[in-house]
Symmetry: C2
Subunit: 442 residues, 2 copies
């Protein structure tokens, strides 16, 4: 029996239905206290059925790709739909669309043993321990391989496969009675070609800075936000405001800001899974709608919202191919595949070099408690570093609270280096420098 | 091939080894916005291998109970162990022990279809919507069935099975332009005999209170902490301090407090998975060590620490049967099976009735950021209710920050009703009333 026949089977019950099958294989290792603490080989399959009968929805999930069990799940989704009330706002599942050419995938990622990462992790640990007073507090390395098939009764039928490799390391410095905060760095790629040496080198540099603890003042200063820091802040305080669902519900502060500037011409943000640096190169979203390059902010000007099928049809616009499915609940929500923040012209080194007195922030704590409905945030910059006379002088900690729409216009430079982050699919992010940032020292 | 033969196979590589196999079946539904949004049937198996060769440890994990794949995982664990440094503190895996009589399990829980919970959820939704101005914001209902087998090369060989059912509901009240915070209630049992009506009744009562918003002052007052609130606060601020690992590492404030009072004679805390109300009746911990009743605090007096095999042997004491395994990393840590806080003599109604001016707290936000190494906490009481002249008058929100070791001695009464919470296994918790609690009003 072919997979398509499951759609035919489901049409006996439903007006329209969708079957999404996801298969994952993860091979990875954990690092704890200078040792490789465990190696893992995990494989799973999840099938999500979404069926509609008379605008009544039924969704069922099973942990298998087995056809007979999928049939049972279709019947369960139908029983459920019958008991629910109709969703009068429901229009229809997506129609087929034209996909872009998929990226070539590295099949090596599909077969690799966790043993490969045991060796890689040992190499990283050894390199880090060559330095005096270093503890490898934690880390992980591995590969995630995924295959998906999205079909619906309107003829959508798209399968994809691909994988990526990642390596994280968290170091703590201990010297002369001083203990640094945990400092981490990472690499993520679409091949096994991970640069462990570079990860260790960058983390060690930050540990060195962190040994030298400096006080921060309550003041207004120039602050450079490194990729991990700026991406966590934007992910919670800004990006959710781009969701079309929030436009329909009236909960985005961007509702009346289309074609208005929210920053300045240094800021350009797109979402495009097929960008050359993307580590999440999907040609279809989780409803089978073709992905595309969506420009969100162009030279500071807000360009418009992103949509999945449901909210787009409710608003009378087109899905932008931004449906993401939760495999825990089966629910579809609007999200990103690969956010790219355009790079600038200066190197991070030059940005630091130009600052007489300011700060470099590696990470934020508490970004998740930001409120995207108004842009308010209150975060702790840690690890953060003091810049004095164009050089990093030591580590510090401070609070930054404010509003993202007040922060963004004070952007004065973007670094030419971008980092690839494995956040929400993936993100390509430079360092971003802001002036007159109000900070509260500790 | 019998499972025991896998141990023999592993002994070709290791001095000693452990094989732990976990199989789970979850049937459940999600509730969103007055509808049953999805139904799930999830089944998974995870096997964790832990082997030791010359004090070198190797741990590997696979998502299957398949014997041939387990053999491969044993070989991977061995390759890993060879590359690691010896853990000079390692003594040995546990020896066999004597288990208590297991509780009879309800086999119905093993076979139940998610459809059962679609009906249950619909019943709960209908009951809640009979009330004016109520939205069923969310919820979940289902059953978790688990089977485990823990074997090691010293002869430990213990298998267990069992399951529990649960039902949560989150209601929001919307009336005359007022919107209450999300109010939730729940039931959890070792059978399908869930009391949906009671869950709805309790949640509706709290929504009624929540419509009437009252200011809270900054003051010292009597505060009754309901089971969900007190258990979240103790779980983060106090319970981790009972861990023997923290004693060895010198990070528990209880290190020199054995046989000293940390509260008063109203407070007695035990951990016992076979307590009559327990919904986690395990006879063995995750290393196969027999569980038992551990008295942690008796009439206010701290009685001693809990241990897993590794830290107990390092300290020269016996494991108390408190090893818990993470199925994400395979790692063992010290944890609880079923914490029981002894009940008192008065009803919650009487406790409220005796208060002229005070507060009743249903839940805390931010309890997870408590510091168990010193007992400090800073939480937001929400939902919380104002008590005036012995009656609940309306809902309020306030901050409570302090130290758990300063709060516990001000305990002046414990309710005679206990609730069963599905926290960390399970917990049996009464409401607890404290006097002279410093709160910061909003």
């Amino acid at each position: 029996m072919k997979m398509e026949e499951l759609i035919r089977f489901g049409e006996k019950f439903f007006d329209e239905l969708e079957i999404a099958i996801y298969k994952n294989r993860d091979a990875s290792v954990n690092i704890e206290l200078n040792e490789v603490s465990s190696s893992m080989l995990r494989e799973r399959a999840v099938t999500v059925i979404r069926g509609v009968k008379g605008k009544k929805l039924g969704v069922s999930i099973i942990d298998t790709g087995d056809k007979e069990k999928i049939k049972e799940a279709i019947e369960r989704a139908y029983k459920m739909a019958k008991l629910n009330k109709p969703d009068e706002k429901w229009t229809s599942l997506p129609e087929p669309g034209k996909y872009r050419e998929p990226r070539k995938v590295d099949k090596e990622l599909k077969e690799v043993s966790p043993d490969y990462f045991v060796d890689l992790a040992r190499e990283g640990i050894s390199l880090a321990l060559e330095e005096q007073g270093i503890v490898v507090a934690g880390g992980t390395g591995g590969v995630e391989w995924g295959e998906s098939l999205i079909m619906n009764s309107h003829g959508v039928n798209v399968s994809q496969e691909g994988g990526g490799a990642f390596f994280y390391l968290e170091l703590v410095g201990m010297r002369e009675g001083r203990v640094t905060p945990g400092i981490f760095d990472f690499d993520a790629k679409l091949s096994l070609n991970l640069n462990v040496e570079e990860v260790v080198r960058k983390a060690l540099q930050k540990v060195k800075w962190a040994f030298n603890v400096k006080k921060s003042k309550t003041e207004e200063a120039r602050v450079i936000l490194e990729p991990w820091a700026i991406s966590s802040l934007l992910s919670y305080a800004l990006f959710p405001a781009f969701s079309g669902e929030k436009l329909v519900k009236g909960t985005t502060p961007l509702a009346n800001k289309v074609n208005e500037s929210i920053s300045n011409e240094l800021l350009t943000i797109c979402d495009d899974p097929l960008h050359e640096l993307s580590i999440n190169p999907v040609i279809a979203d989780d409803e089978g709608v073709p992905t595309r390059k969506n420009v969100l902010v162009e030279k500071g000007v807000f360009n418009g919202f992103i949509w999945d099928n449901y909210w787009a049809k409710l608003q009378g616009v087109e899905s932008t191919g931004n449906a993401k499915r939760s495999l825990a609940t089966g629910g579809i929500s609007i999200g990103f595949h690969n956010v790219i923040i355009e790079k600038g012209k200066k190197s991070l080194e030059d940005l630091v070099g130009e600052i007489d007195h300011g700060y470099l922030v590696d990470g934020f704590q508490g970004a998740h408690s930001s409120n995207p409905d108004n842009g308010n945030f209150a975060v702790v910059a840690n690890p953060a570093f003091l810049i004095k006379d164009g050089e990093v002088k030591g580590s510090t900690v401070f609070m930054m609270s404010g509003n993202i729409y007040e922060l963004l216009p004070s952007l004065y430079e973007v670094s030419k280096e971008q980092r690839v982050l494995p956040f929400e699919g993936s993100m390509i992010v430079p360092a971003m420098a802001f002036e007159n940032v109000r900070i509260a020292g500790k």
